[in-house]
């Protein structure tokens, strides 16, 4: 089944009323007719309307979305699954929420950066317009600001990795809780700094917030060894890291090496699919329902291989989160592209978006 939005928070009275009259509409629901008037009225899935799209940098925009029903909230740092229709096809992606919970206007925002080879980000950055309706899925993620907020914080972000941090900063800003926050943010050039104005505002508003901007095009990338100079008391701070994989790996090792790993939280937001192309042997996939055959190398997910072979397969997030793409494994073994782990028992439900075949397999899709 194709992925759909989260169940909206609808008043029980409204749900009861809709339930009471459903006999008039079976096998459809009253929703099916109400959606003709306003697609945001769906009580089956939460949708939102794009209110505004603001350019942050040349290739990054902030999309402000008004949810159809009251926003049930999120914790700063979490991401949202969002569904858009591109060339007639529903696509789902996860983006960090860059808005803080409890915005007075009830809106939420995400800040996608253009990935040229991507599908959803080119749409959001270049094509989406205010008034467009998007689907809002579940809010997930454990990279969140703890409650209560720790006394001393350290944020290290790079590039678009700032997005979950932004929600945390805004939340601290709104709650006037930025008492002792050190923030090191890297960007290639000054023009590439997402939220530059907003960061400056927060910097000016709170004495306890210290922003250190690192322009890597001039100063080079930040290395673990720089920490002692940039933020001498980093070992005693609750640290939040969000950025490219290499940076996360290097920093994580450093925290571990210094014996303070428990102080560090990282956002591995980009799935590491294909990160280890040499790891697996790949194999052939037989799709039992369509009878189609596909070949995948060790770095190609079953889903991608199948699509290239012309199979119409269910898909959602394409990063192993939503379980929309699952199919029952009938034969063979698969390799999880995120962990490299080889697994597979007959009858196991396999996420085709993050698994590659390890030798020939059959899957009931």
């Amino acid at each position: 089944m194709a992925e759909r939005g989260a169940t909206p928070q609808v008043s029980p009275a409204r749900r009861r009323a809709l339930h009471a009259v459903r006999a008039f509409f079976s096998p459809l629901l009253p929703d099916d007719y109400l959606e003709l008037i306003n697609p945001l009225w769906s009580t089956r899935e939460l949708r939102g309307r794009i209110e505004r799209i603001d350019e942050e940098t040349a290739d990054t925009v902030t999309v402000l979305i008004r949810p159809g029903y009251e926003w049930t909230g999120h914790r700063p740092g979490q991401y949202l699954r969002i569904g858009v229709v591109i060339d007639g096809v529903h696509h789902w992606r996860a983006y960090s929420l860059t808005s803080e919970p409890g915005r007075p206007d009830g809106c939420i925002s995400i800040t996608p950066k253009l990935v040229d080879s991507g599908k959803v980000s080119p749409y959001l950055v270049r094509q989406a317009r205010p008034g467009d309706v998007v689907r809002l899925g579940g809010v997930e993620g454990t990279f969140v600001l703890p409650e209560p907020v720790p006394a001393k914080l350290l944020f290290i972000s790079a590039g678009s990795g700032i997005t979950p941090i932004m929600s945390m900063l805004r939340s601290l800003h709104r709650g006037d809780a930025a008492r002792d926050v050190a923030h090191i943010h890297s960007a290639r050039t000054f023009d590439d700094v997402i939220f530059a104005d907003r960061l400056r505002e927060i910097d000016e508003a709170h004495a306890g917030y210290r922003l250190r901007l690192r322009i890597t095009g001039e100063e080079g990338r930040i290395a673990p060894a720089d920490l002692d100079e940039l933020c001498p008391d980093w070992r005693t701070r609750h640290a939040f890291l969000s950025g490219p994989g290499e940076m996360l790996d290097a920093m994580s090792e450093h925290w571990k090496g210094e014996g303070v790993a428990e102080m560090l939280r990282v956002e591995r937001f980009q799935p590491m699919i294909g990160g280890d192309p040499g790891g697996g042997e790949g194999g052939s996939v037989r799709f039992v329902k369509s009878g189609l055959q596909a070949e995948c190398d060790g770095a190609t997910p079953i889903l991608v291989g199948g699509e290239e072979a012309g199979a119409v397969l269910p898909f959602g997030c394409r990063m192993g989160i939503c379980h929309t793409c699952v199919g029952k494994l009938c034969a063979g073994e698969v390799r999880d592209l995120r962990t490299g782990e080889v697994h597979g028992n007959e009858g196991e439900m396999i996420r085709t978006c993050v698994n590659a075949p390890e030798g020939p397999i059959e899957i009931a899709l």
Binding site: A2, L28, V85
Partner: protein
């Protein structure tokens, strides 16, 4: 002619006999290529079509239902019934049938999807997908395997063995037309599988429960909920008029003695109640009759279109032996010659769920229906080059042939009707 002679003569004319297995493979590749080209192109235009079709169908349904609230007025009854019939036809054919075929699954839409769709008919989506998508579309026109060949109750091919019960088929043919959705729902159960024990009791029970549930919701909607609403609306209207009339009368006649006035009021209340009850009953009846008519119109239309798909004279049937070791190309040819198109206007094709392009639909059951008209010339071209027939004809003629067959084959014997030769280009078959 004896049975063996018939079999021999049809085999001699088998449309496949002149094609080598290499040619069949090549034909398969050509048809695959047509499909691939269309699927590579699917996009916004197609999505917009199905979404606006669904939106229009729902608006028509609402319009029909609202008109029928006033169904006691003849013009409203006629207009409402016509609108609701059209809505039900679109819902069943261009939308339901095609969505359940998975024609729109490529959109990855959570609602317009064969795995979640449900339709306003007696068959559950699940049972129908099995009997239609799988059994009928895989074993198309294979005697004994394609259960849609006569729906297990009719003899529509001379190679089917005659039985005295077929004498009644002209009669139950009419009953089937009027109650087609119920016939299809029972047909989905697959009586042969039940008889031979291929289907477990538990499954039969589950499927019957499914039909019961579908029946209940249709009956509640069409014969209770909407008629009742119409009854209440008309009762309220007439009661209001009656009250108004009563007030107007007492206001005009000046002061009256108290006793007389209260007696009048009591009489007035009884009158109002009686009027309300009368109009409620009348409106209930007229709306229920309108809904029943719309269901029958939809059933007869679906019956007519579907019977024209495989039972006109031009189509070929196959014995299980003929299709042994069938290649992909052979499968395509069987679909091609086992189906027949209906010629008509674009409006006709929409109203028939594009099943007037039965040939194209059988070649590519999961291709969005809107694309059938576009690929028809390419399919004709393939037919012409491979010396294959492209079965097609006007609606009246096709339906006439089907009815003639049903009448003739009610009696023993009967021979294969003459088949059209290979397709020779558009000039021979003006559209």
């Amino acid at each position: 002619m004896t049975q063996t002679q018939i079999a021999a003569s049809t085999e001699a004319h088998s449309p496949l006999s002149h094609l080598s297995s290499e040619q069949l493979d090549e034909l398969g590749r050509e048809l695959d290529a047509i499909k691939d080209r269309v699927f590579a192109e699917l996009g916004t235009r197609d999505r917009r079509y199905i979404e606006s079709m669904i939106a229009m169908q729902r608006r028509l349904a609402v319009m029909g239902r609202v008109l029928l609230l006033a169904s006691r007025y003849r013009p409203a009854w006629v207009a409402g019934t016509a609108t609701l019939s059209l809505a039900k036809i679109l819902e069943n054919m261009e939308i339901g049938h095609n969505v359940l075929h998975g024609q729109w699954d490529w959109m990855n839409d959570p609602q317009i999807n064969s795995s979640t769709w449900d339709w306003d008919t007696a068959s559950t989506a699940e049972a129908w997908k099995h009997s239609h998508n799988y059994v009928h579309h895989t074993f198309t026109n294979i005697l004994g395997k394609d259960k849609d060949l006569g729906y297990e109750i009719m003899r529509i091919d001379p190679r089917q063995k005659w039985h005295p019960v077929y004498l009644l088929q002209p009669l139950y043919n009419l009953v089937l037309a009027a109650f087609f959705e119920w016939g299809v729902a029972l047909h989905d159960l697959d009586f042969e599988a039940i008889r031979t024990g291929k289907k477990s009791k538990a499954q039969v029970k589950r499927e019957l429960a499914g039909i019961r549930e579908k029946a209940k919701s249709q009956i509640v909607k069409d014969y209770i909920a909407w008629p009742l609403l119409s009854g209440l609306a008309m009762a309220a209207l007439d009661a209001a008029i009656e009250v108004g009339r009563g007030r107007g009368g007492s206001g005009g006649s000046g002061r009256k003695r108290r006793g007389l006035l209260s007696r009048r009021r009591r009489g007035g209340l009884t009158n109002v109640l009686r009027t309300a009850l009368d109009s409620a009953t009348g409106a209930y009846r007229s709306t229920a009759s309108a809904d029943a008519t719309a269901n029958i119109v939809r059933n007869v239309w679906a019956y007519a279109i579907i019977f024209c798909g495989h039972f006109p004279d031009q189509t070929y049937t196959f014995s299980p032996e003929e299709v042994e070791d069938e290649s992909r190309g052979g499968w395509y040819v069987r679909q091609l010659v086992g189906a027949a198109n209906i010629e008509g206007s674009p409006l006709f094709h929409v109203a028939s769920g594009n099943l007037g392009y039965q040939v194209e639909h059988h070649l590519f059951p999961d291709m969005p229906s809107t694309r059938y008209a576009e690929i028809a010339p390419q399919v004709k071209d393939v037919c012409e080059r491979y010396g294959l027939p492209y079965n097609s004809g006007p609606f009246g003629r096709q339906l006439g042939m089907v009815q003639r067959t049903i009448l003739r084959l009610a009696f023993p014997g009967g021979s294969q009707r003459p088949k059209p030769g290979p397709y020779r280009g558009a000039t021979e078959h003006p559209a």
